[in-house]
């Protein structure tokens, strides 16, 4: 029974769900390790970029997860929440989980891109359309996460968060088409180009593909765990700070009993 009367009892997490989450986690870890092995030791250096091409096996992967999977999912879930027929806090929880994971991947995108940019362009950062729009996206979704921490009723929080997510999602196509709409330092699309014909070949293409799969699995695992955290928080009807305070109180109580004994 939930201590928060406003929140219905969440469904049990079956053994199968836990097994599935764990399996995805293990598969993601193995696939990531395999990508690193292929990327750093097996694939050849590029004719133009040399060894720097090895960063390409992870940079587009983390960008794909952040921009399209995480923030795209957050936008769809927010839309489903706002749509009266599909309104459910499940969508709000899913959007919140996707945004939090997406922000982590967005940070990884900017860092890996910056590390690639320094030896290639000679600078860590350039106010280029692709880079700037990606940084703006990060700031917008950080704002989303900050807004969620403002105390409010779950429905009120869900509604305003959904509006902010949809507003922030407007930047996703801007990031994607920025390399076409403006003259940028950033190269054009290698895989998701207009002809849908990847301009990368052989072991490099397979390693890049594996990187996409591995990082997608990492995202799915993180999303499942983060969603579960949202379910537990809602069930308890408290924020993490309250949980921490309860833990401290319980520890203090146990210590006091020991002293008295």
């Amino acid at each position: 029974m939930s201590p928060n009367p406003g929140v219905p009892t969440p469904p049990f997490q079956s053994r199968r769900t836990r097994w599935l989450t764990r399996s995805i986690g293990i598969t993601a870890a193995v696939a990531t390790a395999f990508t690193v092995w292929l990327g750093l030791w097996v694939t050849p250096p590029d004719q133009t970029q040399g060894n720097l091409v090895r960063l390409v096996y992870i940079h587009p992967g983390v960008a794909w997860v952040a921009l399209y999977l995480a923030f795209g999912l957050a936008a769809v879930a927010s839309l489903l929440y706002l749509w009266p027929r599909t309104r459910s806090l499940v969508w709000d929880r899913l959007a919140a989980a996707a945004v939090e994971v997406g922000v982590v991947f967005n940070v990884c995108t900017l860092i890996s891109g910056s590390i690639w940019g320094k030896p290639t362009w000679g600078v860590w950062w350039a106010w280029d359309a692709r880079l700037t729009s990606t940084a703006v996206l990060l700031v917008l979704f950080l704002g989303y996460l900050a807004l969620r921490r403002v105390p409010a009723e779950p429905e009120v929080r869900a509604k305003r968060s959904a509006f902010v997510a949809l507003f922030a999602a407007v930047d996703i196509p801007i990031v994607h088409f920025s390399v076409l709409w403006w003259r940028t330092l950033h190269q054009g699309a290698t895989v998701l180009n207009a002809n849908l014909s990847p301009t990368i070949h052989g072991s490099m293409a397979w390693t890049l593909l594996l990187g996409f799969v591995a990082l997608t699995l990492v995202f799915v695992w993180m999303l499942l765990v983060r969603y579960r955290i949202g379910v537990l928080e809602d069930w308890l009807g408290t924020g993490e700070l309250d949980v921490a305070l309860r833990e401290r109180q319980a520890e203090g109580g146990a210590a006091g009993e020991e002293e008295a004994a």
Partner: protein, 53 residues
Amino acid sequence: MGYVVAGYVIVLTILFLYGLQLVWRRRRLNRAVARVVEATPAAPRPGPPGTDR
């Protein structure tokens, strides 16, 4: 090659630490739920989340 290694190490470390933090948060909340259920007087009720049916 230094930039490449740095890129891999930083990205993978961020993802690993975030994943670790998620597991830790989930475990802490599971413990909090278990404590609430223990403290609740026995009554016909469904069990806590995170346990088998």
